[in-house]
Symmetry: D2
């Protein structure tokens, strides 16, 4: 029987809460509901052990992981599974480059380091990549900060026989996935796009950060939609939504005889579920590649990333 | 320069109104908006001449085609193009098998016979196929009545070197196309479908006929959606909608950790535009195949049909 | 301190489940959420004791009330309150007029008889009114069957000093209430209604009965909306919705300069909650009127009824 | 027969376009569609003559009024009415206090001065009120800038026998009117509000100004909704919408047994129509009050104003 994959996580926010609770939930329930790939290289979604965790906030460092994932401002729902103490105490993450050696020592046998901190701190992201290189573990960067897109870093992972996966996680199902699919469908059927808008409302800390610093993400989103006719409304942070994200989409098009076609969509999802549902695949991919001695970027990861190696920084 | 394709139409309802007005509109405007294929075998969307038309209702027989397509109960909008008398007088269609010879004589040089009458009269549909065979023209069956699915008929067209296209037109863009695309997207992303419903409201005569005789169409629609979890509400005929069709779709699914995903869609289209946007491709395909001497069923037509040869009757 | 009101219920469907569970919930939680009137004549929503219950189905007769309200086809959700055995065993209701004396004996001290069976059995409704007269208790008819609108019955209750409340419960909040409010708002602001539609989807037995026998209810609903321009789609029974009702409303209007105004609404409610939220007021009203010796129809009930005395049968 | 009311307008934006086109439309068509009050003090909606107009932009000053209302950035639709030259040339408005005398001379017999410039220039608003006092005409302030709420100004109009109407126009029908009505309906029915949000998208210059300077208006809107549980998303300026405004509203509530009620609304209106539909009433009210010698604030205006005299500045 195959051994469980061991993962260390950086960041103990909602996405980690969804990942950790979900692994426990699927392990105990045997459910396959909502799972993208039941098996990746022989590993089921429950075959992951989180062996170390790193955070920055005083409210989380020092707590048991199963307690820390439920502490505010995290607001992902409590899944229907028991969470006894995990035995993993959240450690203080990197605060300066000098910490690299310390953190590398503290990975506790991990095969994969999952970097799941907020986007927008490129130096921290790279420092954790150095941790992975030093410790000899695979690295998964879920943020928009350029790591896998840095050719020299990628080259070093490749030479070390360590997998490097990134950058910028594409959600399992969200507004971008849906909007892009609708625009593609219209084009396939020969309709002409007249206008389109997307409005997003959310209640997580991640969402609040985006509201306060919208520019980079907005452009990346527009690029992803690949259409100059799509308008994005400013993000609206609404704490009562907690980890839910609500999207209002409109598409106005013309068909035969230039007659009008109108499409209005309301989508409601749990944002952290969308991240965890993809992270579970990337972790397994990374663990399997490391076990097989395949360093560098595994092309199977491409479907799950917004900015794989080779795309613009 | 390639010669225009000559078509005779059976049925002077909304779909024929959309087709005839649209051809005139695109011919005069040069617009390419809303067109699925600008060219099929060298034929543009304006390169079609309607040379004969057949109807059953006293209100249409004897009128000029450009007048008949605007007569009630037709309620497709008047497109922004002038419609001077067409020179084609609507003739009385088949009323009994004995009329086959008469109608075959009256096709006025047509290369293609487009059967665009209401669904639900299989004998009439077959009789018109006999007209086409006798006159040596291609046949396009847009209705759900089995014609191309009848192997012996298909064989006779094949041996005669005449194209036979059918059965049951798939709209250029409508509720089925959209619903199926959404369900497929969910499955691709690994979400689990919990429930889904579709409600359709419309105001055409065709829609009223379906309301009064819903069973066959409903089953065909459910088959097309390919999911036992989709519920179809009874069709609602609302005359004030005229040729517009409004669809309310809901999809409830589960993602990672069995968390909920809700999708609500409102779609508004002009139903006859969806038909005309596909008929324009089928006519050109049929004309081109006949000119090339290719009899039988042209496989390129499959994407536009709900029940091509080989599917269940 | 005021004594609890004692009520006997006829019908152990979803509406009774919502009523009984809700009384227990509010009594134990002290919550005032979702309550229309915290006090009616000194009675709080928890100050009601159900002392007898009558049903027709073998699956319910003989069970404890707290078990029977949860038995299929009932599908109202289980509220967050414990339901130990109630001590009230569901009895067989009237099967023929001869049963009137038996049932009148079995009311177990009730002050109010709440008739909450399915609509469409006018003779049964009247027979239960006879039960109430014979037993000297107030009668509340929540169905569309004419009881309070029968002047001779009303006169007999009046002379007996017994309250008679009916007919046809208006939900606390539902599609009719909302649609009417929107149309009234439009009119107040001087807009001109162009068209409006309402589509209802539901999953209860009551809803299924309406789907199979739509006519009376549909007309009553149209009357309630008071506008010839409102179109009602056929009701759609979708079992997966359970006790939820989903309504899609559209209103198209014109404002200044005949410019267009469009309003699309999606409403989701638990139908039995809407009934229970009104029944709780009618029971308290009836009990208080009986205690005060006020026979006949109490005018304070009018706001909660679709067809009070004096309206057409 | 009563004489037409003579009005001078300040501001030649979309709201003035809607007003001027609408007056012409109703005068020529005889339609009563979309009109709040067919008659005010004997004056119909067509019984208004615009006798002078003032603007700031070089693109409008010097043009005929009927040309200026159609010039960009105005984007209100062209109504279905002929607009021959009006004979009124747009004049340059106030640029400094010294202009008061000049403008007062240029009112061309107006009885009412309608101040319909963008909000946010309180000194300009007051200077035009001085124009009205000097010229002896009634004043209508449609902006949020405090004029009628200034007790000393109101006192001067009162003593001069001149009507003063303001401040801040309430649209004939828009998001605030609808949202407030829905929240009130919920409260009336005894439901408990859990959360509510409102998202607004628009394409006019006025809307763009609000996007760039949202604070005052947002607070005023929240005050109008009268509920701390309503969240307003940032306004989204989308030029393709032109003069249309789209609003997405959500209301989450709880009813009996704390069961959930969800309400989702999409509203689409032409914003300038909502303003013109109210301005037409205020103009007639002001003209009638002046003719009757009633100075000061006419209480009949209250229903049309967000901030009448006595409310906070």
């Amino acid at each position: 029987m195959i051994e469980n994959a061991k993962v260390a996580v950086v960041g103990v926010g909602n996405n980690t809460s969804a990942l950790v609770q979900g692994i426990a939930f699927y392990r105990s329930s045997g459910s396959l509901v909502g799972i993208h790939q039941p098996q990746v290289a022989g590993l089921g979604v429950g075959d992951i052990d989180v062996v170390a965790a790193f955070a920055r906030s005083d409210g989380k460092v020092g707590s048991d992981l199963h307690q820390a994932i439920l502490a505010p401002p995290n607001n992902f729902p409590r899944l229907d599974v028991e969470l006894p103490p995990s035995g993993v105490t959240v450690q203080r993450g990197l605060v300066d480059p000098a910490g690299i050696a310390r953190v590398a020592e503290a990975l506790n046998g991990a095969e994969v380091l999952l970097y799941s901190a907020p986007s927008g701190r490129p130096e921290t992201a790279r420092a954790y990549a150095e941790v992975a290189l030093r410790a000899g573990v695979a690295f998964v960067n879920t943020t928009a900060d350029p790591v896998a897109r840095d050719p020299s870093l990628l080259d070093r992972f490749e030479r070390a026989g360590l997998p490097l996966i990134g950058d910028d996680l594409a959600s399992q199902f969200g507004a971008s996935v849906l909007h892009r699919a609708l625009l593609r469908l219209l084009a396939e059927r020969g309709l002409t796009l007249v206008s389109s808008y997307q409005v997003n409302l959310g209640g997580t800390e991640d969402f609040r950060n985006l509201v306060e610093n919208p520019d980079s993400k907005k452009q990346s989103k527009l690029n992803a939609l690949g259409s100059g006719q799509v308008q994005l409304a400013p993000l609206a942070y609404m704490p009562h939504l907690k980890s839910q994200k609500i999207t209002h989409l409109n598409v106005e098009a013309q068909g035969w005889g230039e007659t009008a076609i109108s499409l209005d969509v309301r989508l409601q999802v749990h944002d952290p579920s969308g991240a965890a549902g993809v992270n579970i695949d990337l972790i397994r991919l990374a663990a399997a590649a490391r076990r097989a001695g395949h360093g560098g970027y595994p092309p199977e990861a491409a479907a799950h990333l917004k900015s794989p190696p080779g795309t613009a920084v």
